[in-house]
C-alpha cells in the first residue's frame, strides 16, 4: 500500500494532498442519485414480487401471501388459509416469480455488458445470435429427441449447448483474421443468428409434427410457466447472481471498453482479453436463462437504456440498477401474461416485444436525430 502511494506521488508531484471540500466533480451527487434509485427499485421489486405471487387466474389477498411466506420461512404464524392457497403461493407462483426476477436481471445485465463490449447501444443478446442458438437446440430436442437420454433436462441442456455453440461460432468468426473488433462481432452475430433461425425453421418443417411445432413456437415466444422448485431454478439464480457480481467487480473494464480499444489499452486493460472474458460470461448466463424461460426479447436492449438514463453511464451504477429494472420489468410482464386472457396464458415474449418495439423505434429516431442534427 505504501509503495502504491509512493508511486502515485512520484507520478504526479503536483497533486494536492488535501481531500476535496465540496463536490466539484459532481461525483457525490451521482452517488446519491444511484443510492436513491437503488432504494426505490428495491422497494418496487419487493412490492412487485408480492403482487406477482398474489395475482393470477386465482387472486389471493396480499395478507395470505405474506402469511404463507412467513409460515414457510418457519415463523410462528397462525394458519388461516386453505391448503390450496399454500400450494398456489409456494409451489406455483413463487418459483415462477423468482425465475422471472433472475431471467429479467440476467437479460438486462447481459445487455449492458454486450452494449459496452461491442460499443453499440443497439446490441443485445439476441442481436449476437446467442438466443437463436438456444432456440435451435430446443427445437432439436423437442422435435427429434436430441439428448433424450437426459430425461427432463434434455430441453434445457440442448438449449444451453445451442447457446454456447452459437456464441463460440460468433466469436470464432469475429476472431478469424486477427483482433476481435466491435463491428466484426456484431456482423458475425447477425450472420450466425440468421443461419440458426433458418435452421430452426427447417427443423420444424422437416419434422412434420404439428404438436412438436406448437411446442417449439411456445419456446420461441418465451414463458416462465416451466418454473418449479428444483435444481434448474437454483442454477439460474446462482448463474445470474454470479454474473451480476462479476460484472459489478469488472465495471471499470466495461467503462473502458465502451470508450475504445486503444484507450482501454493505454489505461492498462487489454480490450481483446476483456471482451473474450465477457463473451464467455454472457454466453453462460444467456444459455442458462434461455434454457429456463425460452426466448424473451427486448429486455436486454431496453433496460440498459433506462438504467443509463436514470444513473448515468458508469457501469458500477448501471449494472445493479439494470438488474433491478430488468427483474421488475419481467415480473410485471409475467403478471400481464398470466392475467390478461386468464385462464389462458400469453407467451411473455409477446408482452416484452409489444412494450419493447415502440421503445426501439423511439431510440432509433433519437439516434438518428443526434447524428443528423
Amino acid at each position: 500500500m505504501a509503495t502504491t502511494d509512493a508511486v502515485r506521488r512520484a507520478a504526479d508531484p503536483a497533486h494536492p494532498a488535501a481531500p476535496p471540500v465540496t463536490d466539484l466533480l459532481g461525483i457525490g451527487a451521482r452517488r446519491r442519485r444511484f443510492a436513491l434509485w437503488t432504494g426505490a427499485l428495491l422497494v418496487l421489486l419487493v412490492g412487485s414480487t408480492l403482487l406477482g405471487v398474489a395475482w393470477g387466474s386465482v387472486r389471493l389477498a396480499p395478507g395470505v401471501v405474506a402469511g404463507v411466506l412467513a409460515d414457510r420461512a418457519g415463523l410462528p404464524v397462525e394458519v388461516t388459509w386453505a391448503p390450496s392457497s399454500d400450494a398456489i403461493v409456494w409451489q406455483v407462483r413463487l418459483p415462477r416469480v423468482l425465475l422471472g426476477i433472475a431471467v429479467g436481471a440476467g437479460l438486462a445485465v447481459c445487455g449492458v455488458a454486450l452494449q459496452a463490449m461491442v460499443r453499440n447501444v443497439l446490441a443485445d443478446p439476441y442481436l449476437l445470435g446467442i438466443n437463436s442458438g438456444a432456440s435451435s437446440g430446443a427445437a432439436a430436442a423437442i422435435l427429434f429427441g436430441f439428448a433424450a437420454g437426459l430425461g427432463q433436462h434434455a430441453l434445457s441442456v440442448s438449449a444451453f449447448l445451442g447457446a454456447m455453440a452459437a456464441s463460440a461460432l460468433v466469436y470464432g468468426i469475429a476472431r478469424s483474421g486477427g483482433h476481435v473488433t466491435a463491428v466484426r462481432l456484431l456482423l458475425a452475430g447477425v450472420v450466425v443468428g440468421y443461419a440458426l433461425y433458418a435452421t430452426t425453421s427447417f427443423l420444424i418443417f422437416a419434422s412434420g409434427s404439428a404438436e412438436g411445432a406448437r411446442s417449439v413456437l411456445f419456446w420461441l415466444l418465451g414463458s416462465l410457466g416451466l418454473a418449479q422448485w428444483g435444481s434448474p431454478l437454483v442454477v439460474v439464480l446462482v448463474v445470474v447472481g454470479a454474473t451480476v457480481v462479476l460484472l459489478l467487480l469488472g465495471s471499470r473494464q466495461l467503462d473502458l471498453l465502451m470508450i475504445g480499444d486503444a484507450t482501454a489499452r493505454a489505461l492498462g486493460t487489454s480490450a481483446a482479453a476483456a471482451r473474450t472474458r465477457l463473451l464467455v460470461l454472457v454466453s453462460l448466463c444467456i444459455g442458462v436463462v434461455v434454457a429456463a424461460a425460452g426466448s424473451i426479447g427486448f429486455v436486454g436492449l431496453v433496460v440498459p437504456h433506462l438504467a443509463r438514463r436514470a444513473v448515468g453511464a458508469r457501469h458500477a451504477y448501471v449494472v445493479p440498477v439494470a438488474a433491478l429494472m430488468g427483474a421488475i420489468l419481467l415480473v410485471w410482464a409475467d403478471i400481464v401474461a398470466r392475467t390478461l386472457l386468464a385462464p389462458q396464458e400469453i407467451p411473455i415474449g409477446i408482452i416484452t416485444s409489444l412494450v419493447g418495439a415502440p421503445f426501439l423505434l423511439i431510440l432509433v429516431r433519437r439516434l438518428h436525430a443526434s447524428t443528423t442534427g
Partner: protein
C-alpha cells in the same frame, strides 16, 4: 544533456507483409514536444501504436527511461505513458467529464478498488490544469470539440504519466481550438516536464508548437530535426508532392502550398 524520456530505435512493422513503418527512430526529452507529420498512410498512427505498446515492433525497440515498452505490463506502462487516441467513443456515451477523467486513475487502482479522496483530488487538479473544472459535471456529448480534447488531456494528466502521446488531437477542431489544444500541450510539456509526441496533419501548427519534427514518407523517415530545418521546400515538396513556399513570420516558419505546381510529379490525391 539528460537522457531522453522516450527513445525508439530502428522501428519496423508490417501489416500483411506490407511494410508500414521501416527503420524509424526518435528521442523525446522531458519538457519537449515532438511532432509527427507525413501524408496519409505514411505510418504516423502505426508509429504511435508502437510507441504506446499497443503493437510490438518486428524490429527495433521502444524505451521509456530504462523500461522496455514492448515487455512492460500494460498496467505499469499506463502509469508512465498516456495516450489520447483517435478512436475515443466518448462522444456518444453519457459519462460525465469527471467520470472520464477518473478513468485515468484506473492504472493506479486495484481491480476492485474504489476511487478515494486522493483520486478525486487528482482528478480535480487535472481538470483545473486544463481549465475544464467548470465542465466536470457535464456529459461529454454536450461539450464542444475543443472542450472534449481538454477533458481527454486532463484524463492523461490524471494518469500521472510523464509521457503523453496524442493522435491528431486537432482533428475536427476549428482554428482557435487547434491553437488552444496545442498551446495546452506545449504548456504542460514546459511546465510539468512532460515529454509529448503529437501526430499532426497541419505543418504550420507543428512549426509553432513542436520542438522537433519527424516527417514520415512511406513509413520511412523523410526528415527529423527542428522545424526550421525540416520545414523547407526541399523536404516537404517531394514528400507531399505539392509546390511549397516558406514565409517566416516572427521567426516561425509558415508554409504556403500550390497544388497546380507540376515540377515535382503528380500531387497526392488527398491534397487536391
Amino acid at each position: 544533456m539528460t537522457a531522453p524520456r522516450l527513445r525508439a530505435t530502428g522501428l519496423r512493422l508490417s501489416y500483411d507483409s506490407r511494410v508500414v513503418v521501416d527503420d524509424v527512430g526518435l528521442e523525446v526529452p522531458a519538457g519537449h514536444v515532438l511532432g509527427v507529420a507525413g501524408p496519409n498512410g505514411s505510418g504516423k498512427t502505426t508509429l504511435l501504436r508502437m510507441l504506446s505498446g499497443e503493437r510490438t515492433p518486428e524490429r527495433g525497440s521502444v524505451h521509456l527511461g530504462d523500461l522496455d515498452v514492448t515487455r512492460a505490463s500494460p498496467r505499469i506502462l499506463a502509469r508512465l505513458l498516456a495516450l489520447v487516441a483517435q478512436d475515443e467513443g466518448v462522444a456518444d456515451t453519457p459519462l460525465s467529464a469527471a467520470e472520464i477523467v477518473m478513468l485515468g486513475r484506473t492504472p493506479h487502482l486495484g481491480p476492485f478498488q474504489r476511487a478515494g479522496a486522493e483520486d478525486i483530488a487528482i482528478v480535480e487538479d487535472a481538470l483545473r490544469r486544463v481549465g475544464a473544472l467548470g465542465l466536470a459535471r457535464r456529459e461529454l456529448a454536450t461539450l464542444s470539440g475543443g472542450e472534449r480534447q481538454r477533458v481527454l488531456i486532463a484524463r492523461a494528466l490524471a494518469q500521472g504519466a510523464g509521457t503523453l502521446l496524442l493522435d491528431e488531437p486537432t482533428n475536427h477542431l476549428d482554428i482557435r481550438y487547434q491553437h488552444e489544444v496545442l498551446g495546452l500541450v506545449r504548456d504542460l510539456a514546459v511546465g510539468s516536464e512532460v515529454a509529448a509526441v503529437v501526430v499532426l496533419h497541419d505543418l504550420n501548427l507543428a512549426a509553432r508548437y513542436c520542438d522537433t519534427l519527424l516527417v514520415l514518407d512511406g513509413g520511412r523517415v523523410a526528415a527529423y530535426g527542428v522545424p526550421d530545418e525540416v520545414l523547407v521546400p526541399e523536404v516537404i515538396e517531394p514528400v507531399y508532392g505539392i509546390g511549397t513556399h516558406r514565409l517566416d513570420v516572427d521567426g516561425v516558419p509558415h508554409l504556403a502550398f500550390h497544388p497546380a505546381h507540376e515540377s515535382h510529379g503528380e500531387p497526392h490525391e488527398h491534397l487536391v
